[in-house]
């Protein structure tokens, strides 16, 4: 509840509307503006709790990363070329996700749908490369059951991959909702939350490619 709503004394909702008009904002504007902040902030809190979830997976990986049980270590398994392509895909998709957000705010349909489509293609390419990498490792006998290191690796990278997969579904949903319902305030709020989610996944990937793949290669 916002401060203005909390400050309302005995009068009900209709009285509050009159005051919003008096302050130069229509009731609709004032309401939409504050709700965008509240919804965005709530989703930001969720994303921070998601980052904490990833930190727990990462701590597990960091503790177990040397426990290869005689099996392959990171430098025997990681393909730097693929990781570089994955990173480029996700970083570029984050750029286009931002552009899609600008397009939605400006109600510029070509920019919004074009940028969202490119974001989807790049995200799907990232996920396809990751699945290929997983399949390749399992085929070599380096599946999650091989060692503590590999269990933690698959859990950590797989958790990120699941998030990217969910994000791709969400992305398609947002494109469909804009087509079906237009740039309504509630749709724009969902697009804001999606953009926050996608950028956060990219931030998490920065930690993963640096500290899991690159450090694993040099160790």
């Amino acid at each position: 509840m916002t401060a203005a709503q909390a400050a309302l004394p005995a009068h009900g909702a209709s009285h509050g509307r009159q005051h919003s008009h008096a302050a130069g904002l229509s009731e609709h504007e004032a309401h939409a503006f504050s709700q965008r902040i509240v919804v965005g902030y709530g989703f930001w809190i969720f994303l921070i709790s998601d980052i904490i979830l990833f930190s727990a997976f990462f701590a597990t990986y960091a503790v177990l990363s040397d426990n290869t049980a005689g099996g392959p270590a990171g430098r025997d398994l990681f393909d730097m070329r693929l990781v570089a392509i994955e990173t480029a895909c996700l970083l570029t998709s984050s750029l286009f996700c931002g552009l899609a957000g600008i397009g939605a705010q400006a109600r510029h349909s070509r920019l919004f749908h074009g940028a969202m489509a490119i974001t989807f293609v790049l995200g799907a390419a990232f996920l396809a490369i990751e699945l290929h990498e997983f399949a390749d490792m399992i085929e070599k006998g380096a599946g999650p059951t091989r060692s503590g290191f590999l269990s933690a690796f698959f859990a950590l990278i797989g958790c990120h991959g699941l998030h990217v997969g969910a994000g791709l579904l969400w992305l398609l949903t947002m494109m469909a909702q804009v087509v079906a319902k237009g740039y309504r305030e509630d749709i724009l709020r969902r697009i804001l939350c999606f953009a926050l989610f996608w950028h956060t996944l990219d931030i998490i990937w920065v930690g993963l490619f640096s500290l899991v793949y690159l450090v694993g290669m040099t160790a």
């Binding site: 005995a10 902030y41 960091a62 990173t87 930690g207 640096s210 040099t218």
Partner: protein, 167 residues
């Protein structure tokens, strides 16, 4: 919530709509109708915050796009440096993990500023405080785990000795 006193004044009849019914129960009374002035500052104070991910004054498409492009170039540069130093002899080998961590933190900062529009301005205090608390927990979880587990590891009987004892 408001059902206790709403009967006392006819104007509060639609307080059930959800828009402020939390306060009606306490302040609501026949004499509480003359507080019109305390609404205005509250409405103005709504401008004091910005949603996470929103950039203030970025209604201009060109300006917003330039911000994202600048962030992208910086992030791509930091990524390229990270990949480069793992293969080259530019950085003293034992310190490469530290260098990679520093570069990763720098790139996360670039993402936060240019993609998520985090600033140190007063309109972003709430977003930044939530992030700071999250980072505190992240540090406790990661470094706490590493610290405790390395101590346990050091104090454990070496594996070979354990095997001998089991025989």
């Amino acid at each position: 919530m408001s059902t206790t006193t709403t009967g006392s004044t006819p104007r509060s009849g639609n307080g059930h709509g959800g828009n402020g019914d939390g306060v009606n129960g306490r302040d609501g009374g026949p004499g509480a109708g003359a507080t019109d002035n305390n609404i205005k500052p509250a409405v103005e104070s709504r401008h004091g915050d910005v949603a996470p991910g929103d950039e203030q004054g970025a209604d201009d498409i060109g300006r917003g796009v330039r911000g994202y492009l600048l962030g992208f170039v910086l992030a791509a540069g930091l990524t390229a440096v990270s990949f480069y130093i793992t293969r080259s002899t530019l950085v003293w080998a034992p310190s490469i993990p530290i260098a990679l961590s520093v570069l990763a933190v720098a790139q996360m900062g670039v993402h936060l500023v240019f993609f998520l529009h985090m600033t140190s301005g007063p309109d972003n205090v709430n977003n930044l405080m939530a992030l700071a608390f999250g980072l505190l927990i992240v540090m406790l979880v990661v470094f706490g785990s590493l610290w405790i587990m390395s101590h346990l590891n050091q104090n454990m009987i070496p594996m070979e000795k354990l095997m001998q004892m089991q025989r």
